[in-house]
Amino acid sequence: MAAPALKHDMLAARLDGLTLPEGAGWSVEARTSALSRLNAMGLPGKRDEYWKYTDPATLNQPQAPRAGLFETGEAMPFSGIDRLKIVFVDGVFDAEASDDLAMDGVEIERLSDAMSRDIHWVRDLYGVLETRGQSPVQRPLAALNTAHATDGVVIRATGKAPKPISLIYLHGTETSDAILHHVVKVEDGAEVTVLENGPAAARLSKVMEVEVADGSAFHHVRAQGRDHERRAVTHMFARLGRESVYKSFSLTVNGVLTRNEQVVEFVGDHGVAHIAGAALGDGGKDAFHQDDTVFVTHDATDCESRQVFKKVLRNGAVGVFQGKILVKPHAQRTDGYQLSQSLLLDDDSTFQAKPELEIYADDVQCSHGSTTGAIDEEALFYLRSRGVPEGPATDLLVLAFLAEAIQEIEAETLRDDILTRLQGWLDRHSG
């Protein structure tokens, strides 16, 4: 078999030069096991079913392709929000720029510190949720991340966090290759919000493993950086306990390649997971390829999952959505919803969608819808006939299209911040 052999050659090249970080402590075991998973799988290839619409070549290659630094000239997302800032530059924790890692009801530590000591809860999660997420769909780049992550934070919420924890990813050099791995545990009845923003590096690999225990809530809002040439592959692995809540929203504007995977598993009854995203892409010389790949497993009764993904594409931009809801035999009264829609602002852009439902329980409510369309000319004329010029009228329709995804952000201040980013994109791309 030529293909697997080629894959393994690629893998050897990719791993050449990567070593387990010093002071990896207890994580050596988890990392070694991740390496053997990776060796068994090989790197992803275009022939793999889950990589059919997104070419992983530049994520696989040994060196990160160069990505220019981009000065937006605007305030960063979330800057007006009271939060605890944790800054990474090219994937390296920057203590100077970060706030003290201390907050009521939350323990926060740098991953490397956590590795040098025997912290049971981290040890029980690091690479564990990632491993669970490897079946039935292989995610080799996540295993690579677990094996070779160089930095990250571990967050354990034991109460209601008084303010959001804000992970800020700055991009400092044009060839930086960052591998970040975060572990979050929200203990019974606790609640925490994690924000993420920034381009991070020329190439970012990021895994976040999130354990949402019984009766707890995890909120996540991210605005991925606007550097045009940046590349990113990110994975969120979440395990949801009884009556827990997991809500994640991602905004992607710019970026030559972004692959966001979400792997969510309900293991306790009456859980709720809402996963949403808005992507706005202008292709052109910089190109834009954005891929949301979601896998939700209902392995408990009475859980509700909701996926809402909207993409606005123009000028040759490419959007991909692969979303699956798996309902196991005993997961009765599951309520699963999945929506993926694209608005193509011209004829050059492409949207690929692969919605999947796999249901083994008999008392479930699952629906999915996927559409792709252009601006509604009737609506546009209606607005213009009332005096709204074509540009602003189109913007109104774009925002209206995205509204359902944006509504998934619960906190109004965060929602408004994201809306400001959207308006900014529209202003920059008007006409």
Partner: protein, 251 residues
């Protein structure tokens, strides 16, 4: 106010002419009605005046207070004072009715070099206007026309007209789909806007709307032309005898 001369229009990409030389002048302060059988070109005329795409003007002109409408974008026509009350108002999910109207009002003001209306003034104004049309606050918050009944949609059109204060109001079969009570409400709304410096062009199939909105002049349109013009009695004549005699007369 509105002067249409020898207007010839075809559908884009087709040779077939729809308007074949329309001549019409609407003076300020007057209400003109256009009646005519299906397919006579009434709605096309309203669309061409408001700037909808898909039509080709092959000859003639249309001016509003001397300005050539046909060269203008739809939004510029609106700013110049043209308003079309749609036969089928468009539903726009995700755009709040209030947001939509405020954007429109301020876009027109901006185009005319006027100051934008403050949020407070706008709210005060729209509440008063909505009350007259029996439009409740909830309807103002909902997305534009989404889930509105036929009557609500038409009332919403008149609300927009009231807020935008156009010079030339074109009503395209505003009576279609309305029951008697709703028609009265809409007609009252229109009548409240009648003024010395505003012209109306009311397109309708039936005379009954004209019982409520009394026209000064009635035109009969057939096969892309205005074939007869008269006073209000012309509408009554149509109501009693149909179009057949008029059409026969015209040939």
């Amino acid at each position: 106010m509105l002067e249409i001369k020898n207007l010839h229009v075809s559908l884009e990409g087709e040779d077939k002419a729809i308007l074949k030389g329309v001549n019409l002048t609407v003076e300020a302060g007057k209400v003109h009605a256009i009646m005519g059988p299906n397919g006579s070109g009434k709605s096309t005329l309203s669309y061409v005046l408001s700037g909808r795409g898909g039509y080709v003007v092959t000859d003639g002109e249309a001016r509003l207070n001397g300005e050539n409408l046909l060269d203008m974008e739809p939004e510029d026509r609106a700013a110049a004072g043209v308003f079309l009350a749609f036969q089928y108002p468009v539903e726009i999910p995700g755009v709040g009715n209030m947001t939509f109207l405020r954007t429109a009002v301020n876009a027109q003001r901006k185009a005319r070099g006027q100051e934008e209306m403050s949020a407070a003034d706008f709210l005060k104004e729209i509440r008063a206007r909505a009350k007259d049309l029996k439009i409740d606050a909830e309807m103002l918050k909902r997305p534009v026309n989404v889930g509105f009944s036929g009557g609500e949609k038409k009332r919403n059109e008149i609300l927009q007209m009231a807020m935008l204060e156009p010079k030339m109001c074109i009503l395209d079969e505003t009576d279609s789909g309305l029951d008697v009570d709703a028609m009265k409400l809409v007609a009252d709304g229109v009548n409240a806007l009648r003024s010395e410096d505003r012209g109306f062009l009311v397109i309708t199939h039936y005379q009954r709307l004209l019982d409520h909105i009394k026209p000064d002049v009635v035109h009969i349109m057939s096969d892309g032309r205005i074939i007869k013009t008269g006073g209000p009695e012309l509408a009554l004549d149509v109501e009693q005898n149909g179009y057949a005699d008029l059409l026969a007369e015209a040939v």
